[in-house]
């Protein structure tokens, strides 16, 4: 009904109470005052970006509950601020059969309709009027005083907003809840870090005290070196005792006479006066690879390397 091709764009006036018959091509949509909240503010600012940041606070006391987006611009020294609900516009577009993908730009009736064009008739029940500089939708009372809403020659302003194709996947409340959960995890992990850190400090302290407690050298390398020396001594002394034990066993079981026994730096040497069963000696000492020799006087010499 209120649509017109301008260049290649079809201009649609979107209002909950009006019928729309889109052609299906690319379109520009003018939002009816029924779809947004608008107010004029006197701000001590000239920067639009800075002013826009203030809009949520400025509208805070006027808006009902909902997810609002904001838009604004300066006009004649005043800041005109808008608040609108994307979801409502998306839903209405779908109801009216307009593909959001085909909508190039969204405009506000406030910024697109001049004072001279108002009051303008929307249909038999509604009209648009200018009330103290604000374009509002009102019931049509006197049809004789209204002008038709003329969009054919309408030149659209660059004051546009973009409506996202999809709603925010996660609602703000959910985002805050998720943030809180992550923060809680962060805090818990932080506490765990602190607990482990304390344990690390405690363990380091205990670790530093070990060598002092056992009156050892201050470094690991020094102590390892000393331990190695001791282990060499232990191994050698054990071997000496095992060899002596084996030699004494042979001596006792065969009633041989052990003439001499010598433990030197690198070997254990023994001499038996009379050895009837040499195999016994080999058997008992085979683990130590003994060197057995018969001496001239019949004695047997046994030597085991250490």
């Amino acid at each position: 009904m209120f649509s017109k091709f301008k260049t290649d764009l079809e201009i649609l006036f979107l209002d909950p109470d009006l019928e729309l018959q889109p052609k299906g091509g690319k379109a520009a949509v003018i939002l009816s005052p029924a779809l947004y909240w608008v107010r004029g503010f006197d701000l001590p600012l000239q920067n639009e970006k800075e002013a826009k940041k203030l809009l949520p606070t400025l509208f805070e006391d006027f808006l009902p509950d909902g997810e609002f987006r904001y838009f604004g611009y300066f006009q004649n020294g005043r800041y005109i601020g808008f608040a609108f609900e994307e979801e409502k516009i998306r839903t209405l577009l779908a109801q009216k059969g307009v593909e959001l993908a085909n909508v190039e730009t969204f405009h506000f009736a406030q910024s697109e309709l001049d004072k001279e064009a108002l009051p303008a008739k929307l249909d038999d029940r509604w009209m648009l009027a200018d009330v103290e500089g604000i374009v509002v939708k009102l019931p049509l009372l006197d049809p004789a005083k209204v002008k038709p809403l003329e969009l054919t020659t309408k030149k659209l302003s660059p004051k546009t907003v973009k409506i996202e194709r999809y709603a925010t996947p996660v609602a703000t409340k959910t985002l805050y809840m998720l943030s809180a959960v992550f923060l809680l995890f962060g805090v818990l992990y932080g506490l765990q870090w602190l607990r482990i850190e304390q344990e690390v400090v405690h363990l380091q302290k205990r670790s530093d005290e070990i060598f002092k407690k056992y009156a050892l050298m201050p470094t690991m390398t020094q102590n390892k070196s000393i331990l190695k020396k001791y282990e060499t001594i232990v191994a050698k002394q054990k071997k000496i005792r095992k060899i002596i034990a084996a030699l004494l066993k042979v001596s006792h079981t065969q009633e041989n006479h052990l003439r001499s026994l010598n433990v030197r730096e690198k070997s254990v040497h023994a001499v038996f006066d009379d050895l009837q069963h040499q195999n016994d000696l080999i058997q008992h000492l085979q683990a130590f690879n003994p060197r057995i020799r018969k001496l001239k006087n019949g004695a047997v010499s046994v030597e085991v390397a250490l």
Partner: protein
Amino acid sequence: MKRINPLYILILSLAAAFFAAYSASKKEKELEKLQIEYREKKDLALRLWALKNAYSPKRKRALLQLLRSQKVQKSGIKFDEKPNRLEISGKNVDAKAANLVVSKVLNGTYNLKKLALRKANKGLDLEMEIVWR
């Protein structure tokens, strides 16, 4: 009041949680490494301490007590006590006394450097050297 985009808060809190989890995990690994090192250190310390005690010059006292006993003294076994070293010797000494001394040394944790036992006329010739670090 300036409002921060909740998405930024979410990203920030997620990053904080990840960072905290990563740090905690890194700290946990550090602790595990430290625990292993501590156990190794303690094990080394205990082994070394035990060996130092076992081969300590303090052990000399028990052996000297035996060497100073009447039975050993009578047998002719002599000893020469030097710092970190003990030399025991005897010519034609009583076999029982020599056996007593040799057994004491062989059954104890002594670093036996030298041992020479030889049959003599009635007894044994004995030479022994024990060292301490």
